[in-house]
């Protein structure tokens, strides 16, 4: 067990290493990194000063080590625009994104799971076909367009909901819908296939043979087992949501880290951009690790497989 966890952690560390290396190399290798690391509108003197400060003329592995060292201390540099440390900025905005992601996740599960179950239970039927169409739309209709259309209808025409900003639950409705849309379709697909798999399993056949009422079979036995992979995916998707919420947060002027990333791009605030990306990648690697370990704890077969 411990060996498994140790191996899994090692795997994650490698991923983190590669992630940081990728980010580091991309910055250093494409063009002049000093231009990125310095405020826009800076003079030649500023550029030279930055070169010194970051030791950009030193051998590359030395630079990498100091890069990692500062990351480990939580030093992601300082935002040009806000003039505060990036890490601090990130932490202040993260709760907003988390709130949005949770709302979107709730929405996607509330829509995705029941429709997935319906589709599986009535395979080939109306609900299944409707589900297929929904899945297709979820993949093809971009979240930002959904957001814009929602604003058009609910804010401009109907005037029911506020078009941007945050503060009240009403502000949350549209962004959550727009963000959750894609994932609702994804969760529906996974629930459906997972449910189908479970329904065809020996365990269920046995329950049916035993004469248990169908509702109980589906509701109690099949449902629980089918749900496990869905919830697992949901866990990962939550973190992914936080990171891809950039566009939705921009459309709705929602003050989360997605919007922070957008500001970073717009104001050429590179430390912010780099910080958000590093944190995003790290979050995902860590969450993957946690979920895998939890899985192993719950399901002994996995440990043995490893």
């Amino acid at each position: 067990m411990t060996r498994f966890i140790a191996r899994r952690i090692g795997y994650s560390l490698v991923s983190l290493f590669l992630l940081s290396l990728t980010i580091f190399l991309f910055v250093r290798v494409t063009g002049d990194p000093a231009v990125l690391l310095v405020e826009p509108g800076a003079s030649q003197a500023d550029l030279d000063a930055i070169r010194e400060q970051f030791g950009l003329d030193q051998p590359i592995w030395v630079q990498y080590v100091s890069f990692i060292a500062s990351l480990a201390h939580g030093d992601f540099g300082q935002s040009f625009y806000y003039r505060t440390p990036v890490f601090e900025l990130y932490l202040t905005r993260l709760p907003n994104s988390l709130m949005l992601a949770l709302a979107a996740m709730a929405f996607s599960l509330l829509i995705g799971i029941p429709s997935g179950i319906l589709a599986a239970v009535r395979v080939g039927g109306f609900w299944d076909k409707a589900g297929k169409i929904f899945a297709l739309l979820g993949l093809s209709v971009p979240s930002f367009w959904i957001g814009l259309v929602l604003i058009l209808f609910f804010s401009v025409y109907l005037q029911w909901l506020p078009s941007s900003g945050s503060g009240t639950p009403l502000h949350l409705l549209m962004p959550a819908f727009a963000l959750g849309w894609y994932f609702a379709a994804a969760h529906m697909r996974l629930t459906r296939s997972s449910m189908l798999e479970v329904l065809g399993s020996e365990y269920i056949k046995l329950a049916r043979l035993k004469g248990l009422p169908e509702a109980l079979v589906i509701g109690k036995h099949a449902f629980k087992n089918a749900l496990i992979p869905v919830l697992t995916l949901a866990g990962i998707n939550l973190v992914i949501m936080i990171n891809v919420a950039v566009v939705v947060e921009t459309v709705f002027a929602w003050p989360g880290i997605g919007r922070l990333l957008y500001e970073g791009i717009t104001f050429r605030d590179f430390p912010v951009v780099q910080g958000v990306v590093i944190m995003g990648g790290t979050m995902i690697v860590v969450v993957n690790l946690v979920i895998d370990v939890l899985y192993a704890v719950i399901d002994p077969r996995i440990r043995l497989e490893a």
Binding site: E39, P40, G41, A42, F80, S163, G165, T266, F267, R268
Partner: protein, 308 residues
């Protein structure tokens, strides 16, 4: 948040408490005003301003501030640059549809004076009104050797005024001058402007106080904070007026300098900005426009509410 101070020397303020809310997004600001969440908003432009005007209960209050905006050609002293040729600069000046831009972005309230010096300043010289003549602009460009226009490189501006920049770029493109918009956040923009890091095209404005002489000193004359180059005859004239004690003669010299700036198209004036603010139904006296040339609501002690 400001709380009223009862013993203020002018008078007791009518409004007991002023709450300031920072809402960076223009559309959100307007939405807040419409819903009554706020009573006064600053800076609403373009189509949103039109919407404000149309909405019952809301009033639009323009304030022309002493901030002329211009297009500057930092490359004009470089013999290899197209901007070195005066005809090219004048072509750019003719290509811009000043009135329509004014109408579109500030509902016509901005003033097209033609000068980088605010018209309220001492020693101000009134240039001839800027003209919009794209056909003539194209002719000038062709005469200068650019019948199909040219790639002008980068167009730097303060990000808050990218709407103006986009409209100007649109006009320039019509006569074939193409450039890439580079909006910068204000602090970064002014830093770059000051440190002369910019090339090609700069769109800027200045609300700094002073008179025509101080304005010219900073922007036109050799050694000025924002002068990327200078012309010896203008420098000579400026030195002359600096030593001149007679008011009339000094004014004449300053007028002459401004005339040269205008003729040589060292700058292309875009507008003298009108700041558009909005007030909600709750406000009786918004304080907007009470102090001339001042963009914001003031003095605060004069603010009154129509209903609580």
């Amino acid at each position: 948040m400001l709380e009223a101070f009862d013993q203020y020397w002018r008078k007791t303020p009518n409004v007991k408490r002023l709450v300031f809310r920072v809402i960076p997004d223009e559309a959100t600001r307007l939405a807040a005003l419409k819903r009554g969440e706020v009573d006064i908003v600053y800076s609403i432009r373009g189509e949103l301003a039109e919407e404000l005007q149309r909405t019952k209960g809301l009033s639009l209050k323009p304030a022309v501030i002493q901030a002329p905006f211009w297009l500057y050609f930092p490359d004009q002293w470089d013999a290899k640059s197209p901007w070195h040729d005066e005809r090219v600069r004048r072509a750019a000046a003719l290509a811009i549809d000043y009135d329509t831009i004014n109408q579109a972005l500030t509902l016509g309230y901005s003033k097209i004076t033609g000068s980088i010096v605010p018209y309220t300043f001492d020693y101000y010289w009134q240039p001839p009104a800027p003209k919009y003549d794209p056909a003539k602009a194209k002719q000038l460009l062709a005469a200068a050797g650019y019948p199909n226009g040219f790639d002008a490189g980068e167009y730097y501006c303060d990000a808050s005024y990218s709407n103006l920049a986009e409209a100007v770029l649109n006009n320039l493109e019509e006569i074939g001058i193409r450039a890439k918009l580079r909006p910068l956040e204000r602090a970064a923009f002014f830093k770059g402007y000051l440190e002369k890091s910019f090339k090609n095209l700069i769109q800027a404005g200045s609300g700094a106080f002073g008179n025509a002489a101080t304005r010219l000193e900073a922007f036109v004359v050799k050694g000025g904070a924002y002068s990327y180059g200078s012309y010896p005859d203008i420098d000579a004239l400026f030195a002359q007026q600096a030593a001149e004690l007679d008011h009339a003669r000094r004014e004449a010299t300053l007028h002459k300098i401004q005339q040269l700036v205008n003729e040589r198209a060292i700058y292309v004036h875009l507008w003298q900005l009108a700041f558009l603010n909005g007030a909600g139904p709750r406000v009786k006296e918004s304080g907007l426009g009470l102090i001339p040339s001042y963009a914001y609501s003031a003095p605060y002690e004069d603010l009154t509410l129509a209903r609580p």
